[in-house]
Symmetry: C2
Subunit: 150 residues, 2 copies
Amino acid sequence: MKIHACAAALVTACLLSSPAMAQFQKPEDAIKYRKAALTVLGSHFSRIGAMANGRVPFDATVAANSAAVVESMSKLPWEGFGPGTDKGDTRAKAEIWTEKAKFDEAAKTMQTEVAKLNQAAKTGSLDAVKAAFGGAAQSCKACHDAYRSN
Amino acid sequence: MKIHACAAALVTACLLSSPAMAQFQKPEDAIKYRKAALTVLGSHFSRIGAMANGRVPFDATVAANSAAVVESMSKLPWEGFGPGTDKGDTRAKAEIWTEKAKFDEAAKTMQTEVAKLNQAAKTGSLDAVKAAFGGAAQSCKACHDAYRSN
């Protein structure tokens, strides 16, 4: 039983591993990854939004947990925009690669804004969350408007 | 310009918000969320696996960062398995809901194992990572074998 479990783990380890010098085996893996990170980010961001705009009662713990997830996720998607990931199951616009410096700047702005939101959420104050939420939401929207197809 | 940005942020906030007492507006949102969290988890787990099985050189910082993402993601998917999320774009088997206690136990085991992996990765020791990786991989596989369709 133990040997079986160990062998299974090794098989899993092999199946799951990626080649040297590449975090993604195929461009579609990178696309799937960046979309997944942004999906998790968006889900938790919307929970904070619901509190910030008064649609659900403010729960400081929930807000702080979600803001921590948002900040953590904000660092991840960018490596998924490597060469060859402009085509496939994606709404990413070509401008991401043709205006790379601008895109990177927008990505950085978003990370800065959600870091502020996370700091705000840690204070446990709804007013602080409200104050930080607008800038963070705007940073999401600006990037989507410029770099995501509808 | 400032007013425009503020209005845009408010619109985004409204669009993103979810109704009271529900983290997900529709079952498909919950399914998309849980899959996204597991995709992010799997991507980072595979990076650690590549180091644990020697396919890429060990980088203690990369391993520690990925292990932290894995542990953080391991807490998220479960709320996405609520009522009504057994049908749709999902490979989740009916047993998740008919054997809920067993599924929850498997989910808990995975969280325990990846927490150990995260602790191991924090030490910076490849041997510690290798020792913890097998158990974590097995906890993924056990749950997939029992509760995920091929």
